[in-house]
Symmetry: C2
Subunit: 144 residues, 2 copies
């Protein structure tokens, strides 16, 4: 039973915490305490978020900042940033089926459009939610 790497969930956690802690300094050590993992792991994921243009962070200088508006960062952006699933490869197809069999010869071309559509439907949902939605929801839960 596979599941999509928690890098995605951790990436969202990092971004939300940077925002909610925007008046403080969000070092990898600070973020790691909240996620409850190792600072090195946080820095690896921060590197991915940085490369995707979602955060600004500099060597030697403590703390990270968001580099876009909250509403301009969708969950799909985070998902793509942390490289948990490759485009059009959520579903694995079996390699080298027997091309002498009519089914073996055609099955891949038949199911790939379905797999692609299913993956895109999932990713489309992620694109509809942005970091502002996430942060507001957390704020609402904190008040209660």
């Amino acid at each position: 039973m596979m599941s999509i790497s928690s890098r995605f969930a951790v990436g969202i956690h990092i971004l939300a915490l940077i925002e909610i802690n925007k008046d403080g300094v969000s070092s990898s050590e600070f973020l790691a305490r909240s996620v409850n993992t190792n600072p090195a792991l946080i820095r690896k994921i921060m590197g991915m978020l940085k490369k995707a243009g979602l955060i600004e962070v500099n060597p030697g200088i403590a703390g990270a900042k968001l580099s876009k508006e909250l509403s301009d960062i969708t969950m799909l952006d985070v998902y793509k940033a942390v490289h948990v699933v490759q485009d059009n490869e959520l579903f694995k197809v079996h390699e080298s089926p027997n091309i002498e069999c009519p089914v073996g010869r055609n099955i891949q071309d038949t199911i790939e459009p379905l797999f692609s559509t299913a993956q895109l439907a999932m990713e489309n949902i992620l694109g509809k939610v942005n970091l502002e939605d996430i942060v507001k929801d957390i704020d609402k839960k904190v008040e209660h």
Copy 2:
């Protein structure tokens, strides 16, 4: 980069081939030649399809038959049958975040509905395609 086990694609392959070869005998050895893998692996997947009520197959007797109408077997049925993804666990959440942090305490409850909705959107697409669609598409490709 994770992807969903090819058991799903192989399961679809098996079912389509059983149908297209319905006048012949679809033994695990025959199916394995088309998929281009080991008969034991095919039997393992056939066991899952059988347990899900999609095919009929008996010890000692060569060949498998579909146990439902073509249009009554959706790709979602196959997906569930081969246990490639657990309900509501397509996306992994990081375990035991720090509950002393407002984000750590609430992030899971905030993102889980999103993860669940995204997974269901994907699965919903799979439920819209049935084995008849697949077989017709293969037949069409074979004619050309």
